[in-house]
Amino acid sequence: MLKINQLHKSYPIGDSSLHVLKGIDLDVESGEMVAIMGSSGSGKSTLLNIIGMLDEADSGDYILDDVPIKNLNEKKAAIYRNKFLGFIFQSFNLINYKNALENVALPLYYQGLKRKERQEKGKFHLKKVGLLDWAHHLPSELSGGQKQRVAIARALAANPKLLLADEPTGALDTTTSYEIMEFLQQLNDEGKTILIVTHEEDIAEMCKRVVRLRDGIIMEDKKVNQVRASQYV
């Protein structure tokens, strides 16, 4: 699914620069569910954003679905983001003047689908996250967990191959977190590749593989026995 080779990234800070990623090597196969862990500031989000083509690496290779991602123009990048990638953010990033259904259908708009088709697909995914009854509510009328589920539905709408979640449960309480994880596990069971950034051990244990970052390199990368979230819900 994706191959990363000697990836480097630094941020300029004043005159000097902060070297955040110092040579990351990472292979993710299709169908994996990977937790990226590490202390705060270790570069988890930076890595995920580069994978999601929201940010660019300074050097190194990144191959996504057999396509080398380097110096893509913004138009092509937009098409990849739209087709391959689904994002789930800690702060949901819903558009606050659009209702749940419109938010979910937005990626489909940029795919150029017809209105009717968008509505149908949007409803289908909302139903999948159990929020069909909330289709016409604005984000401000939804709870944190509901917002994140709308965000997941939106990430799924374009049927991407790779789901990228940056602390998807960071703003949620434990029970709600487990509900979200249960849902992500279901998606993974159905075959979606999922990368989750988290610093919570219990969340990481619900994935199939845990990658630990420290000082800009991968310190540990191991397969784990997946804990099913359903047993807690």
Partner: protein, 415 residues
């Protein structure tokens, strides 16, 4: 692109975004609306005032001066000061012949006369005139069958009169046919041959015109004339012409060349020039104020739009993460900005039009109206609208450009 413009989703997005950002939408629209409204109001009123002046002046040869004799103020060649100066018919002829740039010289005499018709009577100004006056002053005859004094009247000392509309109203019954009717001026019967419209502006007014020769005879004037009206050729400066004429007149009448008071004058050309420059000034001011208002409006809009840059940047970041290309984002914002300013601009044009109609209804009626046909050219209005739309769009594009030139993650990070 065409398909995009006719796509319901495009407009759904525009409406969503506008109704979400109500304050921004309203302030932008009020700004544009007010700018256009003011521009139309100002330009229209200025045009109205200008038209009003032009209408008042239209009957007059604007490059003209009236000259009349007064008393000398300097002794000269054995004459005492304080001598009365009388213009003669011969003066008029010599000026016409000798002074370069003079177009017409119209000698005139005027007296006040007691006028009687049937039971009605009044005291009016009676002038002895040549047909030439009509060429210069362009009397507007009211009844089509009427005429002004002609050469035959002069040659035969005919007792005919051309009267003003005011006098017609005072001495005749409503809708009565005045032609061929007699009026008595100082006990002499005159036949009415024409009625002319009274103009509200432009130099000495006369109520009744009779042939110059008849006037001479009745009042025993000899060759004396009361004053003369002189028009200059278009390319000659009327002020300079006035000086030349006066100097030559002083010479003919044996008056000290520097005696300023011997001849009085009323320079219509000068007056007209100052009015004209006032009008130009007013127009300039109007444009200035109008454009300044537009610019102020645009800046107000710009401010509001810029305040929302941060919010917008984040939203644009989200949209980019979902797969929107920079072009799609900018296109959407352009449509939004154009739509917003257009609607507001059109509202401004409509309400501006109402205001001009209102001005016309209240202040634009009648002969002495302050605003005549207050209007603006539709071209000017649309250019103003175009400027607003373009500026509004450019300002709207600032956040769009900013948010699409940075990496999506930076746009998303904006709080």
């Amino acid at each position: 692109m065409i398909k995009f413009l006719f796509d319901r989703d495009t407009w759904q997005e525009v409406i969503d975004s506008m109704s979400k950002n109500k304050l921004r939408t309203i302030i932008t629209m009020v700004g544009v609306w007010w700018g256009i409204l003011l521009l139309i109001g100002l330009l229209g009123s200025a045009r109205g005032i200008e038209n009003s002046f032009n209408r008042s002046f239209s009957d007059f040869a604007t490059n003209s001066v009236f000259i009349f004799g007064q008393r000398t103020s300097k002794p000269f060649k054995g004459f005492q000061e304080g001598r009365a100066v009388r213009l003669k018919l011969s003066d008029a002829e010599r000026i016409k012949e000798n002074i370069e740039g003079v177009e017409f010289v119209v000698p005139r005499n005027q007296r006040s006369g007691f006028v009687v018709r049937k039971a009605l009577s009044g005291s009016y100004g009676v002038a002895g005139d040549y047909p030439l006056l009509d060429v210069v002053q362009k009397k507007k005859l009211i009844k089509s069958q009427g005429r002004f004094i002609n050469q035959t009247d002069i040659d035969n000392n005919r007792k005919v009169a051309v009267i003003s509309e005011d006098i017609y109203k005072q001495l005749f019954e409503k809708d009565e046919d005045p032609f061929g009717e007699l009026i008595r001026i100082n006990d002499i019967n005159f036949k009415v041959v024409g009625v002319f419209e009274t103009t509200p502006f432009g130099g000495p007014q006369t109520d009744i015109h009779i042939p110059f020769s008849t006037f001479q005879q009745i009042y025993n004037q000899g060759d004396n004339i009361g004053w003369m009206m002189i028009t200059g050729e278009r390319e000659y400066d009327i002020k300079q012409l006035e000086e030349d004429i006066k100097l030559s007149l002083r010479n003919m009448h044996k008056i000290h060349p520097a005696d300023k008071r011997a001849f009085g004058s009323f320079n219509l050309g000068e007056l007209f020039k100052s009015v004209e420059s006032f009008l130009t000034g007013m127009q300039f001011l109007t444009w200035f104020v109008g454009i300044a208002t537009l610019i102020a409006g645009v800046f107000a809009i710009g401010n509001i739009l810029l305040i929302t840059v941060k919010e917008r940047t984040k939203e644009i970041g989200v949209r980019r993460a979902l797969g929107a290309t920079p072009f799609e984002i900018k296109r959407q914002i352009v449509v939004e900005a154009v739509f917003l300013t257009m609607i507001a601009g059109l509202m401004g044009i409509i309400s501006g039009g109402w205001i001009l109609i209102l001005i016309d209804k209240t202040l634009g009626q009648g002969d002495d109206a302050t605003f005549v046909n207050a209007s603006v050219s539709i071209g000017v209005v649309f250019i103003a609208l175009l400027i607003l739309v373009i500026l509004g769009t450019l300002i709207g594009l600032i956040p769009a450009f900013k948010a699409t030139s940075i990496k999506p993650i930076e746009a998303l990070r904006e709080e």
